[in-house]
């Protein structure tokens, strides 16, 4: 029984964390009024930069220094990609769907290009086992919760939880967060009380880029051992979680939990006893996360909680 709890619970956690962080990235961008369909592209960039560090310095660096370096690099690269979208969306008043799509195709291509020039192949492997914390002292001994949450979990998962709390605090409990949200609801009014709309939106895109990059890195680090220039559409899953969660962190976390369970089902169906024997073709499980996403966006009621001006370039003279 304990084995099952660990497999399923731990698995859910693996998918839950990156989806929550990716959703928070989108939340920051959209709350400030920038439509960010490019979470996928940002996640690919961050994932690539992070695991590249791990691959390059795995032998020469201390484990935790390496983890710190990879996380920092993935956040910086993600931030730059976020700025690229921000520049088009905020300053140049571009069509935000189109610049997002450009970024979604640009970052995988760049990743493949660099990967081929370094390794000669368009994919490369890395090892992530050493970032697993075998057992957290004291907490790991609690029955059920212990094996579920505090044994054999990746260090990035705990960092992610702390990060989500910090992000929630920034967005809802600080002056900066209030100003940021106001630019997504009524930028003209925010401007009239002295808030710089451009500055707020750029900061939001920088934060979104940085944590989006981290989301990609934690996802690819913990669920795979080979990087193939993609995060398998999980950036778009994060987007759908944001609308499912009605643009609230608590909703996003619930949505991510649901999708975490689906992610586990789709990747471990062949070892779960009851499910293994069901007369369902295996390909169905590979499609499952995408089918569920489709269903979720289809049944989510029209978003009255969505930021009011999301996707509209800021026009000072508009009323």
């Amino acid at each position: 029984m304990n084995v099952w709890i660990r497999l399923i619970g731990g698995g859910i956690l693996l998918f839950f964390m990156p989806l929550t962080i990716g959703g928070m990235a989108d939340l920051f961008a959209e709350r400030s009024g920038v439509l960010c369909m490019c979470v996928e592209g940002i996640m690919v960039a961050g994932a690539f930069a992070g695991v590249l560090m791990i691959r390059l310095f795995a032998e020469t660096m201390n484990v935790w220094a390496l983890l710190f370096l990879s996380m920092a690099v993935s956040m910086i690269i993600g931030l730059l990609v976020g700025l690229l979208h921000g520049f088009a969306a905020i300053h140049l008043k571009a069509e935000q769907n189109i610049s997002s799509t450009a970024i979604n195709t640009l970052t995988p291509a760049l990743a493949m290009l660099i990967s081929k020039s370094i390794f000669g192949t368009d994919n490369f492997t890395y090892s992530s086992n050493k970032f697993i914390i075998p057992k957290v002292p004291v907490l790991g001994d609690i029955p059920i919760i212990g094996p579920l949450l505090f044994q054999g979990t990746y260090a990035t998962t705990y960092i992610g939880i702390i990060l989500v709390l910090i992000l929630w605090f920034i967005l809802y409990k600080t002056r900066f967060g209030l100003q940021l949200r106001s630019t997504g609801e009524n930028p003209q009014a925010s401007d009239s009380v002295g808030i710089s709309v451009y500055k707020m939106r750029y900061s939001a895109m920088m934060i979104a880029g940085a944590i989006g990059g981290l989301a990609g890195f934690t996802y690819i680090l913990t669920t795979s051992y080979v990087f193939m220039g993609t995060v398998y559409g999980y950036g778009f899953l994060a987007l759908s979680i944001v609308s499912l969660g009605q643009w609230k962190p608590s909703g996003i976390m619930l949505g991510a939990l649901l999708f975490g369970a689906i992610g586990v089902l789709s990747s471990t169906y062949s070892v779960i006893p009851i499910i293994k024997d069901l007369p369902i073709p295996p390909v169905f499980y590979s499609m499952l996360p995408y089918i569920i996403t489709l269903l979720v966006v289809a049944i989510t009621p029209n978003a009255h909680n969505a930021p009011a001006v999301c996707g509209e370039p800021y026009d000072k003279s508009k009323r």
């Binding site: 088009a88 769907n97 610049s99 089918i291």
Partner: protein, 368 residues
């Protein structure tokens, strides 16, 4: 020069912003090459420009073949974009369309030209069907079509690969689809006599004819007018008596059909392309977005921009010789898309210049 262009009756701002996008795209590609491998960056740039003639007309003829699917895909995207529907489901619609087209062509047994024609039409139908769910969701529930089409891309990829593996057109030893019999491939109409040894077939000319038909629909028919009206303002056109939902569904279905047809042409041709048994998306479906962006959503311009990007892709396949991955072309086309997102900026600037000129001229008149 600029003044003359600006003051002419025709609007050149679209062409100009596309040219700017191409120049910036090539520049970024060059910078990327310098960053990856500075010593051969210049050779890489030269290869990019001349690679389409690497083996003379043989290579150049194949550009026509590679252009066909991305032109069709670009026109399909353009048709939906005209209605302001961002159908980026190209890879999925193309994959399903290609699978159905190859299967029907190989198995229906109607003999030389008809098997291929029916196969291609079935491919188009399959592509349209694959676009149906996102179309309905957007038309009736206003669900963001980017998310739905991307999800349909993944579902389509898994489904197409799974169906291929279970079908009789799968060669399990090579993990790919079987050879399409020579007499069932797309007709070449003697073009291979001119472009000896190339993969050229009549697909390019079919795409050209379709481009003219699409232009006619968009510019000269009520349906085309309705599409553009819905694209400008969905609610206003609904209010004016246009059935916006029907228009949206139809435009996305036509878009999917064109993309599916493109998939059919890609795998029923002479270039030795096979449907693979591994889970990879058809990236040509995304290249279609760059095609239509460069063409400002004009179907006839799509033929030129598609040919240009196919030329780059053909050059890209020789980039390995000078030490670069073919992905450099994808980088360039992504940058082109990014730049065309900024086209509003260019046309605004040009309009401003035009107004300046007009103002200056009026002033001159007054003095005289």
């Amino acid at each position: 020069m600029l003044k003359k262009l600006l003051m002419s009756k025709r609007d050149y701002s679209g062409v100009l912003s596309s040219l700017i996008a191409i120049v910036i795209g090539l520049l970024v590609g060059f910078i990327a090459m310098i960053a990856v491998k500075p010593s051969s960056a210049l050779a890489g740039l030269r290869m990019l420009v001349t690679g389409g003639f690497f083996n003379g007309l043989t290579t150049f003829g194949s550009v026509f073949f590679y252009a066909t699917p991305i032109i069709l895909c670009g026109m399909g995207d353009a048709f939906a974009f005209k209605a302001s529907i961002f159908n980026i489901g190209g890879p999925g619609q193309m994959h399903i369309g290609a699978l159905v087209a190859v299967y029907v062509t190989c198995r229906i047994g109607l003999g030389a030209p008809w098997s291929t024609i029916v196969g291609l039409l079935c491919g188009a139908l399959a592509g349209a069907l694959w676009a149906l769910i996102p179309a309905l969701l957007n038309a009736y529930k206003r669900v963001n079509i980017i998310i739905t089409t991307i999800m349909m891309n993944y579902i389509g990829m898994y489904l197409a690969v799974d169906l291929l593996k279970k079908s009789s057109i799968f060669d399990s030893t090579k993990n790919q689809s079987i050879n399409v019999p020579r007499d069932l491939r797309v007709a070449r109409l003697g073009l291979d006599k001119i472009f000896v040894g190339s993969a050229i077939d009549c697909g390019f000319f079919v795409a050209l004819i379709i481009a003219i038909i699409l232009w006619f629909i968009l510019e000269k028919t009520t349906f085309g007018y309705e599409i553009k009206a819905v694209g400008k303002n969905r609610d206003a056109s609904d209010y004016a008596g246009i059935d916006a939902r029907r228009t949206i569904v139809l435009s996305v279905l036509i878009s999917g059909a064109l993309i599916g047809l493109g998939g059919g042409f890609m795998y029923l041709g002479w270039a030795g392309k096979y449907l693979l048994g591994s889970n990879t998306q058809l990236s040509e479906g995304f290249t279609g977005i760059a095609v239509t962006m460069l063409a400002n959503n004009n179907p006839i311009a799509c033929v030129f921009s598609g040919f240009f990007l196919a030329y780059l892709t053909q050059s890209g396949s020789y980039m390995q010789a000078v030490g670069f991955a073919p992905e450099i072309v994808k980088v360039i086309s992504s940058v082109v898309v990014y730049c065309s997102a900024l086209s509003r900026l260019v046309s605004e600037y040009l309009r401003k210049r035009k107004l300046d000129y007009i103002a200056a001229e009026k002033k001159g008149d007054a003095i005289r």
